[in-house]
Amino acid sequence: MALLQIAEPGQSPLPHQLKRSLGIDLGTTNSLVATVRGGRAEVLRDEQGVAMLPSVVNYSDPGGVLVGREAYALAAQFPADTLVSIKRFMGRGRDDVLEDAQRSHYVLADDEQGMVRLVTRAGEISPVQASAEILGALRARAMAARSEAIDGVVITVPAYFDEAQRQATKDAAKLAGLPVLRLLNEPTAAAVAYGLDAAEQGVIAVYDLGGGTFDISILRLHRGVFEVLATGGDTALGGDDFDAAIADWIVQQAGCGTLGAGEHRQLNSLARAAKEKLSQEQSVAVDISGLLPGAEPVTLTRATFEELAQPLVRRTLRACRRCLRDAGLDAEVDNVVLVGGSTRVPLVRAAVAEFFQREPLANIDPDQVVAIGAAIQADILVGNRPEGDLLLLDVIPLSLGLETMGGLVEKIVPRNTTIPVSRGQEFTTFKDGQTALALHIVQGERELVADSRSLARFELRGIPPMVAGAARILVTFQVDADGLLNVSATEETTGVRSAVTVKPSFGLSDEQIADMLQASFSHAEQDKQARQLAEQRLESTQLLEGLEAAMAADAEQLLAEQECAQLHEQMQGLRALLPGSDVAALRELTESLGKASESFAARRMDKSIQEALAGLSLDALDEEVK
């Protein structure tokens, strides 16, 4: 019953009224962009007709940044300036990535705050900046294909991404000038792509083995509602690990000594190529003469590769077992969906089929399925689909809690809780006369703060002096539909309040993002103003259209004559401002109209809930049960 739903099913808006939306799969190895055209989701290709953009950014030339295949071609020549698999560094602290950075031959800048910045010929680059370049390249591709402004974007993230990693992804989108409607979990996106295609009912397991991450999600689809039952995985396990295992094996076989950075990159490419070939063939000869001049090729059989990969595959199956238990299921799933290039490996397919006792579905290209699902969700969120088409109920992947006495974690919102969620817990003071309370918000499944990920700290001050244990402090955790957290604390006897929007310790501050935006020459000042005006116009138009439709439907029943007249007057005023270019005035009037119509919106929502409840007759329920 969204206020804005102006088209009835079957009477979709005219093409020029459709909003432009994109789904983006920002992957570790490759990224894709997809959109819905004529009711069908499709990936967008570059001029050469290639859908996948290698997630590689090259900074070897201070004068210009390269993204994609051109950047990848320079990887061996400029290992420290060519950032591959940068997603592994997103939202991470310097200490977390030391080893990974060394293996990738990156040079980390010193940083007192523990932020990750990589030293390149074009200056120090943060993972968020590099990701923004990839997003920017996809944006340019979409603009070239449609030559229109983009109204909304859905970007996918691994379900197991924590708060910091999600925030970093949002920051990258902001930097790239993309309006993000939602961060969507990758496995959920894949399920959407299949669910809508086949109109499935039942339980779906999504096994997603990408380049750098593994995700498993169990979902239930029921009459257009996707409910994520549980999700799990491993943020540091993926196809890259298969490559690394092969690379180590090659080094052992060939007995090459210590490799330089460029040679190491070359070795990794050889390993990846061998792995891909082994999906079709039983054995492959690896030509290592580039590394060891004059050396004979080494032969890798599929059986040897499977031996190397077996421990990694076993790790994924354990996560599957735990996820099934979290979902409250034994092993009964109706469908298994494969996502990610690494699921092309025959060993993986066989192991998954055996575990779930189902032949997995793979009729949508596993490399494209996530972007396609994201495009469908973006199309829905931007308002292009008839109402009731599809709803996603997602969960938080990791528990959220607070530090309590003795360095222990008190979990407030356990993992796999459906979002949005708002949950409060009472705490009290520990000492007589205590006037402040330090709150430390952590994420993770462990019981000790030391083992958990620290998200944020803030203080509640101004508690009136009382004896220990007398104060009643209500701490509320609110997680929105993107999985991002807000925490507030209130002393209940006095109403003293303090709140924080969680900015992870390694995220960028708003000022830093603003600075980066300022510095980025591709978004010059007038561009920004034009964008602001366009965005504001859109918001105002949306409000007007929505209100008009809502009033046409319900004004008579729900509004007094005077209220109705007042709203009409304000709407008239706003409409008059639309053709102009005064952003501030537009914003002001839109906000005030929004406020004025708030109680009308609430009454409408109220009415529709009652209708929804009343509408659930026994007949309807029986029918739903079938």
């Binding site: 019953m1 969204a2 206020l3 804005l4 909003k19 909304g152 409607l181 939602r182 029921h222 009459r223 257009g224 509602v225 409910e227 421990p311 076993r314 790790r315 354990r318 996560a319 735990r322 238990r325 829905i380 969120l381 931007v382 308002g383 109402e387 709803l391 109920l393 809780t417 459906t418 979002i419 949005p420 969620v421 708002s422 949950r423 499944e445 462990r446 019981e447 609110q478 929105d480 539909a481 949306q542 409000l543 929505g546 929004g594 406020k595 119509s597 708030e598 109680s599 919106a601 609430a602 929502m605 109220d606 529709s608 809930i609 929804a612 409840l613 659930l616 329920l621 739903e624 049960v625």
Partner: protein, 180 residues
């Protein structure tokens, strides 16, 4: 503004009888139906105000659903509806036999890392704990239906103990997983 539906208790919100036994399918249908109307995604292109309202209501429905769908929280909620506070429930007397069994199970869990084949033993322990939980759920349902609040509270606390143990077992399982 008035939202009478949210002033009802969770059972009424989903149109269900106030009792421990519960039809998960019916609960799920009412839940999905309400979310179809209220979820913030339904308001993704509406005003910020409408979105804020939607987040709040959607969160309330999620909370109600989460409370009722899990037997443990449903039991606590029923006792609270009957006027018992969390403190009164926690203070309920537990028989010594149960506590000894608990300690025994806990010891087994703690020594599991030393075993040659921890997986099989862990799997077995988890089955045992799950079975015990089911037993105490039946106890709770019977006591609550017979208005024996003290008996129901005692069963509820036992469920709580075992739930914690199960969590611990699952934590060990994931530790084992990390070791691979």
């Amino acid at each position: 503004m008035s939202f009478p539906d949210f002033k009802q208790n969770y059972f009424e919100l989903f149109n269900l009888p106030v009792q421990f036994a519960l039809d998960q399918d019916t609960l799920g249908q009412h839940f999905r139906h309400l979310q179809q109307e209220l979820h913030p995604d339904r308001f993704a292109s509406d005003s910020a105000q409408a979105q804020r309202l939607a987040v709040q209501y959607s969160a309330m429905v999620n909370e109600a659903y989460a409370t009722l769908s899990k037997p443990q929280s449903r039991a606590v909620y029923l006792l609270q509806l009957a006027g018992m506070s969390q403190q009164t429930i926690d203070a309920e007397h537990i028989d010594g036999g149960f506590l000894i069994e608990q300690m025994d199970l806990r010891e087994k869990l703690e020594s599991i890392h030393a075993l040659v084949d921890p997986d099989t033993v862990l799997e077995h322990l988890i089955t045992e704990i799950t079975r015990d939980i089911a037993t105490h759920q039946r106890e709770f349902a019977e006591a609550f239906a017979a208005d024996d609040l003290a008996g129901a509270a005692s069963a509820c606390v036992k469920m709580q103990y075992l739930d914690k143990l199960l969590l611990q077992a699952e934590q060990i399982e994931s530790d084992l997983m990390d070791k691979l």
